[in-house]
Amino acid sequence: MKLRRRVVRSSVAALSCLLSGAIAACTGQIGSRPGDPFADGGPPSADGSPLADGALPTDARTPVAPAFRCDPAQTPLELPLRRLGRAQYTNAIDHAVRAIDGALVGEVRTAIAPFMDRYPQDHLGASIDGKHGGYASADQTVQQQHIDLSYDVATRVGEVLTRDAARIGRVFGACATDTNTANDAACIDAFLDSFAARALRRPLSAEDKTFYRTAIGGRTAAADLADLVALVLSAPQFLYHVEHGAAMADRPTRFQLDPWELAARLSFHFWQEPPDEALREAARTGALATDAGFAAQVQRLFDDPRTERALDRFFREYLWLDTLPSLDSRVGDPVFDAFRAEVSPSPALRNAMIDDVLSSARNTIRTGGALTALFDDRRSYARDATLAGIYRTPVWSGTGDAPTFTEAQRAGLLTRAAFLSTGTINTRPIIKGVFIRIGLLCDPIPAPPNNAAATPIPMLEMRTTRQVVEALTEAEGTPCAGCHSSLINPLGFASENFDALGRARATQRFFDAMGRVVGEAPVNTRSTPLVSGSDPRETADAVQLTRTLIESNRLQACFARQYFRFTFGRLERTDGSDDCALSRLHDAALAGRPLGEVLRVVAMDPAFRSRSFQ
């Protein structure tokens, strides 16, 4: 049946995933890794038969070859002089101001807001292919704007803290406003001991104090004190994670972080902010330098609600949640309006979809679930009525047990709306496949051939998104087929029984230019996802794909890599020097330890508590 032009366009628009910054095509050559996509996977299944609907055989759990080989003699490299991320920076300002007068935090925030609006955003880095995934913590560029604006901010904070004599008295003490100049040095030192020690995350040395005192001429006039604040908030120890370490008797190339450095690493890792008083006390007493004292602080920090802030960031980046497109940009288009029907896509719905995933992660951690529980969590965390409508569940109150999905085909993570929605009328199976292959399995995908974009789009009859994608990327003899038919498309096809707003469906509808339904065709979710090696077994849908992923035991190694990248702000090295840290994370995840415990493993690792100085 020939369709009018617009119908065809709507159908092939599914290719947007193909060519818009994702995988345009594939040469089909699988290198070795970081090349071999199945390096950490097990052998293929014994019989190669398609899976029956329902559960996998109980013996299908794949034994895992060691993904990482720890050689303690190797020395991991360090990122040099890491700067505070944007969120860390703003939190550090709040923290320093709060230490002297919590009532001033709001005023300071308001005063520096014009500058912070312009402070550079952290760009994603440590992506395996430079374009998919990545972590903001890996952005270590220092732009001129960082320098200009941090100077402006520091100066402005100085102005706010010295606004008038009364303010100076509150912030610096009466010694700063009296007429006695004999106490000025002590007055400045006292401020340094409170404000600067918190801002710089360690007590100041006598030399430090001399520098700051001298820099303002030893005076306590308002302008001098404002300069003092600005100097502290412009200091390298404020804007960067400055670490010197201490020699280790048994590791000539590694240096143990001192308790203050360790306290800062811990608090910025878990809370994205400087150490609190308890952590400072542990550093001051040396308790943090003991294994027991350190472990106690790790547990305390992890249990604190502030940890959620950092973990939310991790899961947003690990699961590519910020790539969820705008959902409402096509509202008003007749075809899109017909497709969405009663659903009102909006920025709020997009946020609700992201929050649904983050809530699942939070709940997994809170309830002691393992990493794999995140993938087959079948609860709806929809606090938004529109999303709950998509899920056909009651609205969740935000506390207590969340309702369970009512649709059997909604498998868990991979069928949450955030992974299905596209902002168009079409699903994007290639994007879904690329996310699973690269983001969840850490398999590299070779570069597409140069001429991928030149592939003519066939203007043929009504076909499902899957059929269009198959025709374009899996045709025999094309350079695309090698990767798309094996590594990418099958993973994405498994959830084609959900539409581009995340609604369950059995058929795909087709529209004409006026938005009238002119036909429909059944969707096909059966595929051979090749999760582990050349495993030829077929999966029926996302439910079975989820089980296959979990039972492949390949999610854990990738998770270890991803959390490593988030923590250390860089890609793991291929020379094995990071394998000790990776293997500890991997082992904990593979053993089914609670996800929260796995996340704490990284802080307990020697690589976290020491550094090198190459």
Binding site: R5, R9, A13, L15, S16, L19, S20, G21, P80, L81, A111, P114, R118, P120, H123, D129, K131, T141, V142, Q143, Q144, H146, I147, D148, Y151, D152, T155, R156, E159, F211, A215, A223, A226, D227, L231, S234, A235, P236, Q237, L239, V242, H244, G245, S329, R330, G332, D333, A447, P448, P449, N450, N451, A452, A453, A454, P456, I457, S612, F613, Q614
Partner: protein, 508 residues
């Protein structure tokens, strides 16, 4: 009432007034500014601005004048270079030289046309889809959609705007802002600009015209002015850098880079702007950008970019900054769907629906944004002419006549770069005796090989007065001299050699 700026030869002082509520109170005399600059012995008054647009895919018969206007020819680089005078002709209800390069008759005047060049036949001889780095010479900034693109990702280069910005031959004295940057992922330089060491990293831009204004004309300090303490901040870094505490070599390099940035800040804080009284605008681009329908409202998009143009023109007039780069990633169209897929990737289809949409989009960009800036610069008097005469104003597009292919990427310029460029020309470097590769299904236009974009980049640097020693690749030209395996047989050696040579018909 039109919301366009008022331009009259009688009252050039009003050149920035009347733009959608954006009214700079600038009772200054640009001509005096220029004379003052000249009196101060400013050795280089040239300005450079490049406006870069995404996608492309414009058929040549929509972008360029008719080949019949190419009346001159000469042997050049193993081919025949051709040239003709630009001549206005009716383009529907507009006047211009092509459907895209057209505007209202009172905007694109013969006098302005005489200051324009349109160049066909400048190529990137490899596959580099989805990039923002090619415009200014950092081919490494691409999405890796293709093995060639992946290959050059490991070979980043600074962009030519930054090469100019940090050249003492370009800025002999202090300016508030070396380069005005609108948009991101466009301009790159060393993490330590002064030593040209470290890593090559992005230099962020802004989309807020008020921020752009503040960058050039001064910080938005609220409190009473105080003596800067940058020198003491630097000393604090130096103390750590040279102290006895353990640091790695790279730790010290990072400290050096930060101190370099502080020195740049200190230098700028001491800079003064001689522009008379300038009032900070009350309205910027952000409210325009944040309107609900901005993404499909060409008028709003033009308004935002005209606000950037205002700041650029003012900065150029004052000499407060003489470099600007702008990445325009909007569609400049009312199209509501997936532009990339439904328009750009179908630009070649013979049905022409998509091509017409692309033409309308680019015509709007030319007329309302690129031409807008040219007119603003031409309305400001400078020694021996106008600011535009001292400027090289460039419009570059991401692709040639086939989306994601880079043969004959259209180049449009205004201004003579202080007499370094011959203008008023349509120049064509394409070797039209042999098609390059097969055509897309149904596409009506062939591809021909041209000369290297690297040669254009080298020419741009030279006309702006930047010595070769500061940028030239070992084999000549600027930018990675990479040629894709699929492209090698199409390019004769002569086309890819002598890449620093002056381009025929373009240079004086």
């Amino acid at each position: 009432m039109s919301d366009e700026p008022v331009f009259t030869s009688r009252d050039r002082r009003q050149f920035l007034k009347g733009l959608g509520g954006f009214a700079l109170a600038i009772p200054f005399l640009p001509s005096l500014v220029a004379r003052e600059a000249a009196a101060q012995g400013m050795p280089n008054r040239k300005r450079f601005a490049q406006l870069c647009t995404a996608h492309g895919g414009l058929w040549h018969n929509n972008m360029f004048p008719s080949v019949s206007t190419l009346t001159e020819q000469m042997p050049f680089k193993g081919r025949t270079a051709r040239r003709g005078d630009l001549r206005l002709s009716p383009q529907g209800t507009r006047t211009g030289i092509s459907p895209v390069v057209s505007s209202a008759a009172d905007r694109l005047t013969p006098a302005l046309l005489a200051k324009m060049n349109v160049v066909a036949g400048l190529d990137i001889p490899f596959y580099i889809a989805h990039n923002t780095g090619a415009h200014l010479g950092n081919y490494a900034r691409n999405d890796g959609n293709g093995s060639d693109g992946m290959m050059v990702q490991s070979q980043p280069r600074p962009t030519i705007d930054q090469i100019m910005a940090w050249s003492p031959e370009f800025y002999a004295s202090t300016v508030r802002r070396r380069v005005m940057i609108v948009g991101n992922r466009l301009t790159y330089f060393w993490s330590n600009p002064m030593t040209r060491m470290g890593t090559i990293q992005q230099v962020d831009g802004t989309i807020d015209s008020l921020e752009l204004f503040d960058q050039v004309f001064g910080p938005i300090m609220v409190g009473p002015a105080r003596r800067p303490i940058v020198d003491r901040v630097i000393e604090n870094y130096r103390r750590l850098r040279t102290g006895s505490a353990r640091l790695s070599t790279d730790d010290r390099r990072r400290l050096d880079e930060h101190m370099q940035g502080l020195s740049e800040l200190e230098r700028r804080l001491s800079a003064t702007v001689s522009c008379g009284t300038i009032t900070r605008p009350t309205r910027g681009s952000l409210p325009v950008i944040r309107t609900m329908d901005y993404g499909r409202n060409p008028a709003s998009q033009a308004q935002a970019y005209q606000l950037y143009n205002d700041v650029i023109a003012l900065a150029f007039a004052c000499g407060a900054s003489r470099l600007a780069v702008l990445y325009a990633d909007q569609t400049f169209s009312t199209f509501t769907g997936d532009w990339h897929q439904d328009i750009a990737h179908k630009a070649h289809l013979p049905g022409m629906t998509e091509q017409r949409t692309i033409v309308a989009s680019h015509q709007h960009f030319f007329s309302e944004i690129f031409l807008d800036l040219a007119r603003k610069l031409d309305a400001i008097t400078d020694t021996d002419g106008t600011v535009l005469d001292q400027t090289l104003l460039v419009w570059s597009q991401e692709s040639g006549n086939h989306t994601h292919e880079n043969q004959s990427m259209p180049l449009v310029t205004f201004g003579g770069a202080g007499g370094a460029l011959r203008t008023g020309s349509y120049i064509d470097y394409r070797e039209t005796s042999r098609e390059m590769g097969s055509r897309f299904q149904g596409t009506p236009e062939p591809r021909y090989t041209g000369l290297s974009w690297n040669q254009w980049l080298a020419n741009a640097l030279q006309v702006m007065g930047i010595p070769r020693a500061q940028w030239e690749e070992s084999g000549g030209g600027y930018g990675v001299p990479y040629v894709g395996a699929d492209y090698r047989s199409h390019y004769p050696a002569a086309a890819l050699s002598g890449l620093s040579d002056p381009l025929a018909y373009l240079r004086r």
